[in-house]
């Protein structure tokens, strides 16, 4: 879940930090965002399972 949150922030941060680049969310960023949001959702659903070994 943490990776999902941090990844999402990092992907949006690209647009904030690298202001010189072409605006908008690019295709790679979109794929990355989908993956990170997916990881976040996965993490949320795993919390109720407790500490069962993976």
């Amino acid at each position: 879940m943490a990776i999902g949150i941090l990844g999402t922030i990092a992907i949006f941060a690209i647009d904030i930090i690298d202001v010189g680049r072409e605006g908008g969310i690019g295709p790679i960023q979109t794929i990355g965002l989908v993956l990170m949001v997916g990881l976040f959702v996965l993490g949320i659903t795993l919390i109720p399972l407790g500490d069962d070994p993976a």
């Binding site: 295709p27 790679i28 795993l46 399972l49 993976a54």
Partner: protein, 556 residues
């Protein structure tokens, strides 16, 4: 883990129906296997390049067999460099010593490695089924294991590249073997045996990585899996793996004066084409949906109700990373091949568990939410799913249908089922040829193709031996005993990233140093193509294997 309610007794007619449907699925998949063998046999006998770049891989083999490096300075004559690691070519060196520059042994080797991969997939499905369900039905389990292996070979993507003289194919054999070896390594109690298995697994990963760089995705998956199971052991072995891998890399970089780095790393940094990536992803999903769904369901099952296996992590890593890599310039559908292997294992285990009624679900909120409400319908759902499972393989066989529509047996089948050719030389490919970067291959070569290839060879032989020729495919250089000059794609890629100066090659073209130029796709960098058109003129076009080969002579 809590067992599900006792499995209902399956009525004999239902069991008979499941067996019958599995037989139909196997018959169809076996038909695809027959097509595959026919295709491999056809290609093994074809003496020229079938897929662009095969000849250059053969040239790598020949260079290594003469203890020369294929990672040389591409800016100086003969302007040749390879962008692939050497393991596949090293394996073929003994054949080069015995038979010289021939295509058949490289294609046969690749074909055999796909069979080993398919057998490994089937073996994994069989073993994992019995590991989880000791009372599993032997006949059904064997049928599913066989179907899983055949499903791998039946994929249009695997079929296309299986018998090619390309390094990619043996890479996924090493990857699959590595995953099979490492799958239960953490459970081995004997320390010496566990270490030997780890050594074997990591050794196979190193071999895979030095066959083609894409095996790094499998290595990532394997390391994640080992880390989840035993972090300390994963870090120690991962460090050793990194040291060995990096050590070989540094050694190759130093001994080739840095050309190894330029050609295997710099030349592989290519433009990302979003349309290509999306098109190939959609094509992959459409072709494999019938086994993709059970593979994903099994992955979710492991995440929420069981322990996560190496197969699931391997599948996710190779699918996601390969899907992205497939979007780079020069990549193609073949990048999905490893993920297809992982998918065949996961779907095979899912289907085997279902037909053997071997599902078990941990007690958790998802079980209470998704499983328990339907427990009273368990007998009916079990029967329904058991009948559905073989049908998935039948649907998959239909989705991946590919076959020649001409020739003994095939033309009759095509007539009966109304299958019309949609590719070269009377070939039908369910994937069509609609997506960019989807390999335009899979068809059989004809006698006319060989005749036309020899026609090009004849044209070259008209040129005095001491006069050089420039052929975009190495096959014609081998066939005429000429020096292989340039590897166009490598020059093009390095030109695109600003690491190639074409001055020397352009100067040779200006001086009309080549008596004949043979082009197929004009993969040369723009300055070279301009020089070719400026100082040479097309005198003849000869078709071979669906491509028009342009023959150019110096302008007067």
């Amino acid at each position: 883990m809590t067992n599900s309610p006792p499995s209902p007794t399956i009525p004999r007619p239902i069991l008979t129906l499941v067996h019958a449907l599995m037989l139909i699925a196997l018959a169809w998949l076996l038909f695809h296997f027959v097509v595959y063998v026919v295709y491999a046999n056809n290609l093994i006998q074809f003496p020229f390049d079938y897929d662009q770049g095969e000849g250059f891989e053969l040239h790598d083999v020949m260079l290594l067999s003469q203890f020369q490096t294929p990672y040389a300075d591409i800016e100086t004559f003969p302007f040749y460099g390879s962008i692939y690691p050497p393991i596949y070519h090293v394996f073929l060196v003994p054949f080069a010593w015995l038979f010289g520059a021939e295509y058949w042994y490289g294609r046969l080797f690749s074909f055999l490695t796909t069979l080993i991969t398919a057998i490994t997939i089937g073996w994994v499905v069989y073993k994992e089924t019995y590991r989880a369900i000791p009372h599993a039905d032997k006949t059904l389990t064997r049928m599913v294991a066989l179907a899983s292996g055949l499903a791998f070979l039946s994929s249009n993507i695997v079929y296309h590249i299986g018998p090619l003289f390309r390094q990619h194919i043996s890479m996924f054999m090493f990857e699959t073997l590595a995953v099979a070896v490492l799958a239960h390594v953490s459970e081995i109690e004997s320390t010496p045996r566990r270490r030997w298995m780890l050594l074997l697994g990591f050794g196979l990963l190193v071999l895979g990585g030095y066959t083609k760089q894409l095996a790094a995705f499998t290595a990532v998956g394997a390391l994640i899996f080992l880390f989840i199971r035993n972090p300390r052991r994963a870090i120690i072995w991962g460090f050793g793996f990194a040291v060995v891998g990096a050590g070989i890399f540094v050694l190759l970089t130093i001994t080739t004066d840095g050309h190894w780095w330029t050609q295997t790393i710099t030349a592989n940094v290519k433009d990302f084409l979003t349309d290509q990536a999306i098109g190939l992803a959609r094509l992959f999903a459409n072709l494999h949906l019938a086994i993709l769904i059970p593979a994903i369901l099994y992955l979710l099952y492991e995440v929420y109700f069981d322990r996560i296996s190496i197969y699931s992590i391997w599948f996710v890593c190779t699918l996601v990373l390969s899907a992205m890599a497939a979007g780079t310039w020069g990549a193609g559908d073949s990048y999905y091949a490893t993920a297809i292997g992982a998918m065949c294992i996961l779907s095979g285990i899912f289907i085997s568990k279902t037909v053997n009624q071997g599902w078990q679900f941990r007690q958790n909120y998802l079980r209470r939410l998704l499983i328990n409400p339907f427990s009273r319908f368990a007998p009916a759902i079990t029967i329904m799913l058991m009948v559905l499972m073989p049908m998935l393989y039948i649907l998959y066989a239909r989705a991946t249908l590919h076959m020649p529509t001409t020739g003994a047996g095939f033309s009759q089948i095509a007539d009966i089922f109304g299958i019309e050719a949609n590719a070269d030389n009377g070939f039908y490919d369910s994937a069509g040829r609609l997506v960019g970067a989807y390999a335009d291959i899979g068809h059989l070569t004809t006698e006319q193709d060989v005749i036309n290839g020899n026609l090009i060879v004849g044209r070259i032989n008209e040129i005095p031996k001491e006069t050089r020729i420039l052929s975009e495919e190495a096959a014609f250089s081998f066939a005429t005993g000429r020096e292989v000059i340039t590897n166009p794609v490598v020059l093009y890629i390095l030109d695109q990233v600003g690491h190639y100066d074409s001055s020397e090659l352009v100067q040779m073209l200006e001086e009309q140093a080549f008596g004949l130029i043979i082009l197929r796709a004009r993969f040369y960098p723009p300055p070279v193509n301009i020089a070719i058109d400026t100082y040479y003129e097309m005198v003849e076009v000869i078709s071979m294997n669906g491509f028009d080969y342009q023959l150019l002579r110096p302008k007067n």
